[in-house]
Structures are given as C-alpha cells and as structure tokens.
C-alpha cells in the first residue's frame, strides 16, 4: 500500500482559480489551466475542483473549461459545483472527470445521489459535507456555499448520504478554510467514525507536517487549498506540492 492520498482542492469562480477564507472573499490565484498543468507535473494523487461561482449563481458546470482541465490532467479529477441533475452528472463524467462532488444537491435532491451511484457506481459519487461549529462545541452541516444551515449534524448527514449510495465524503471544515490554522481533528474523527466509506478531510492544513493528522484521526485522504497555492502565511501565490519521497516520509513517521 502507498501513503494516503494528498489532494489539492482548487476553487473556480468565473473561469478563474481563486482561494477563499471561511468560504468567503475569493482571491485570484491563477489561470486554471496553468494551475492544473502544474499539479499534473507535480504528479499529485488526484485533484478536486470546486466551482463556487456555479453554485452561488445558480449556473451549471462550465463544461468547456472542465474539459480543458480534464485534458491537462493525467490523474483523477473530481469536480463539484452546480450539479443538480442526472444530466448534469452525465455531462461532467462524460468529458474526463472521474468523480462528481455533490454539495447542495445532496441536501435539496438526495435522490440524485442514488441515481448517480446506480448509473456510474458509487466510486464516482462524492458528497461534500460542509461543517461549521456552534458556540456550544457541536457541529452543524451547511449548504449553499455554507450560507444555509441544514439543522443536521455532519455525522448524521454523512451516514445518510452513505446509505443513499455516496462512495466518498469530502469533509470541509468551513471555519478552518483558508486559515492555515490546523485541521479540526475532532470533526474529522466524528465523521470518519460515523461512516464506512472513505472520508477526505479538508480545511485548515497549516504545514506539510500537518498532513498526516487527519489520517490518524480516521480520514482516508487529506485535501488542502491554501497550503498548495500559497507560500506560507504571507499568502504570496506559489503553486507547490511535496515530492513523492517527501510525502512517503511524512506518512512514515509515527
């Protein structure tokens, strides 16, 4: 077995690559084709692409751009943003995307999870669970770009979408997004314990040495945005990724 997957999580808005803080204030990071091309050269394990503009503005996926990005990419690409129908799922999977990420649709039309899994297999269906913490220390899942509460705990939501056919959970700690303040390990452990499918943990990676921690907490894979697009806390843009040997070393140490 190889080390767990380490996944750049990249955000798109209006055809540009951006980065947010707590799911807000997108800042320009670069041209999507260039960025994906770079990560492809770095031989990353897979890439997660989320179009935050599509969901926010009620647009569907930008298939022309997605196809361009898929053509650049020799590793699996997951795409999410604005997919709310089986036609939408088909359209995206038909142009070189390996897996769809369902966010708001998983809340508003949960039957889509099952329909997509039945047609393409659950390994092609990722559901995004976007979690915020409440003052009392509990967690709640949100949707619509983390602007609306679901009144459901992330663990419950994860369990529910697993039973509907989801193959993986993309767990976003909204409060940690863009902060580089460390992963929310309690959140990750709770959701990982609630399901038997792989959980990809995202949100808060502070350094490369931080990457094994979600795995120790029960996640099967770890994703990061800021860590791989910025150079440290100064937020100067620098697309970066550790070399394979470094990744193996990171996950080898106890």
């Amino acid at each position: 077995m190889l080390p767990p997957r380490v996944i750049p999580c990249l955000l798109l808005e209006n055809g540009l690559m951006v980065k947010t803080v707590e799911f807000r204030e997108p800042r320009y990071v670069g041209d999507p084709v260039n960025v994906v091309n770079l990560f492809n050269q770095f031989e990353v394990d897979e890439i997660c692409l989320l179009d935050i503009g599509a969901s926010r503005n009620g647009r569907g996926p930008d298939l022309a751009l997605i196809k361009q990005l898929a053509d650049e990419c020799w590793v699996p690409l997951a795409y999410g943003g604005g997919i709310d129908s089986l036609e939408g799922v088909r359209g995206v999977l038909g142009i070189g995307i390996e897996k769809v990420v369902l966010g708001s649709a998983a809340i508003e039309s949960p039957q889509l999870i099952t329909a997509a899994a039945d047609e393409f297999g659950s390994q092609a269906v990722v559901v995004s669970v976007d979690a915020r913490s409440a003052p009392d220390g509990s967690y709640e899942a949100f949707f619509r770009n983390a602007s609306r509460p679901t009144r459901e705990s992330p663990s419950n939501l994860a369990r529910r979408v697993e039973s509907l056919g989801a193959g993986e959970i993309l767990l976003n700690a909204v409060d940690r997004d863009g902060t580089m303040a460390g992963f929310d390990l309690e959140l990750i452990a709770g959701v990982a314990a609630a399901v038997s499918i792989p959980v990809i943990a995202c949100g808060g990676a502070s350094s490369r040495a931080d990457l094994p921690r979600p795995i120790q907490a029960g996640a099967s894979a770890v994703a990061a945005g800021s860590l791989f697009v910025y150079q440290g806390r100064s937020r100067g843009v620098l697309i970066n990724f550790p070399e394979r040997q470094r990744v193996e070393e990171l996950f080898d140490s106890p």
Binding site: E46, W74, E98, Q123, A124
Partner: protein
C-alpha cells in the same frame, strides 16, 4: 475503443494521442469487426455493462474478435470485470472469456481500509504477460468495490494488495484486463497504454 454507453471515453484517446495513436471510438459492430486491437473501458454496474453490450449488438462480434481472430483486447476496470463469468454485484452472465467470478471487497471489521478502494496502489507482476514489465512495481489509480477472482491462477498476471492480495491484472492468450484506470495513472498508465497499442 468500444463505446457501449458507459465509461469515460475522453481520457483514453487523449493519452493514446500522446504516443501518436489515433484510436477510433465506436459502438458500431462493423467498425469493431475491423479493429486490429480493442480496448473495452467501463465504470459502474456489472449488469448495466452486460445489458449495454448486448443492446449495442457487440456481444458476438467481440467474441469473434477474441477467439477466432484473436486480436489483442484490453479490458479496463469494469471492462476487466466483464471478462468474467458472473459477478456478485449483478445477475447477468458476463463475457465469460476468463473463467472466474467478481466478488465484493470485504474488509475485516477492525480494518482501517475502506471500500471502495480509492487511490494509488502498486502492482507486482506474477506471471509473464505482454504487460509484465510496465506493471511490475508500477503504481496505478484504483477506484472499485469489486474484485475479479479467476478460477485458474495462471490467469493472474499482476497482483495488488488492499487488505488482501487481489488480481489487478488478468491475462489469457490475447486477452488482458486491468482493474485500475491507466488513463488516470499518469506516466505509468501512459506507458501501459503505449505498450498495449504497440507504440
């Protein structure tokens, strides 16, 4: 490349183009009948794959290409699983070209390993095959919940471990199958596809 209505048909021709090969993608039995080599892609459910192959009128021409003309044929992911006789996942008989059954991955209760098997893993070549040197020690991307258990161990050309060893590459005469996605396995997948097309 056999188009039977399921599977990611964009990525494989893209990769083949990089080694100078223009693959035809077709659901037309007449076109399939003229092929020098065939790739059978596929993702998703076993029965859906079986039904789609029948509906496209491809079942018999594929059998003829496999056993009479004996052209090189490569099944990818579900395409490999369909080479089997049957699957626990479905009720319909598969192509049955390589004897054996497809079963679901089962992990012991205390295992950290989850199903589906998603991610990179290595392959060890177990027996000589046309792909032996491009698979041995190489790593590929896997995304599956089911594994093929061939009846005859001689069909197992490559093995991978995920909780337990399983057949990641099968081979019988002119027929090959890989459980992983070469089109998403970077330079390792590119080398494998290049080898298969003889580039």
């Amino acid at each position: 490349m056999v188009d039977y209505g399921i599977g990611n048909l964009g990525a494989i021709p893209n990769m083949l183009r990089r080694v100078g090969v223009e693959a035809a993608i077709s659901a037309d039995p007449g076109v399939v009948a003229k092929a020098d080599r065939l790739i059978i892609p596929g993702v998703g459910a076993y029965d859906a794959g079986v039904r789609n192959l029948h509906a496209a009128g491809l079942w018999d021409v594929l059998r003829s290409k496999a056993f009479i003309e004996r052209v090189p044929i490569l099944g990818l992911c579900l395409g490999m699983e369909l080479l089997s006789e049957s699957s626990e996942e479905g009720e319909l008989p598969g192509l049955g070209w390589i004897s054996g059954r497809v079963v679901r991955f089962r992990m012991p209760a205390d295992s950290r390993l989850r199903v589906p098997h998603m991610g990179w893993n290595t392959v060890a070549a177990r027996r000589p095959s046309p792909l032996a040197d491009v698979i041995d020690g190489a790593r590929f991307y896997f995304a599956h919940s089911y594994v093929f258990e061939p009846t005859n161990p001689e069909s197992i050309a490559g093995e991978t471990t995920y909780g337990r060893p399983f057949a990641s590459v099968v081979h019988q005469d002119n027929i090959l199958g890989v459980q992983f996605h070469p089109e998403k396995s970077h330079r390792f997948g590119l080398e494998l596809l290049a080898r298969f097309v003889g580039a």
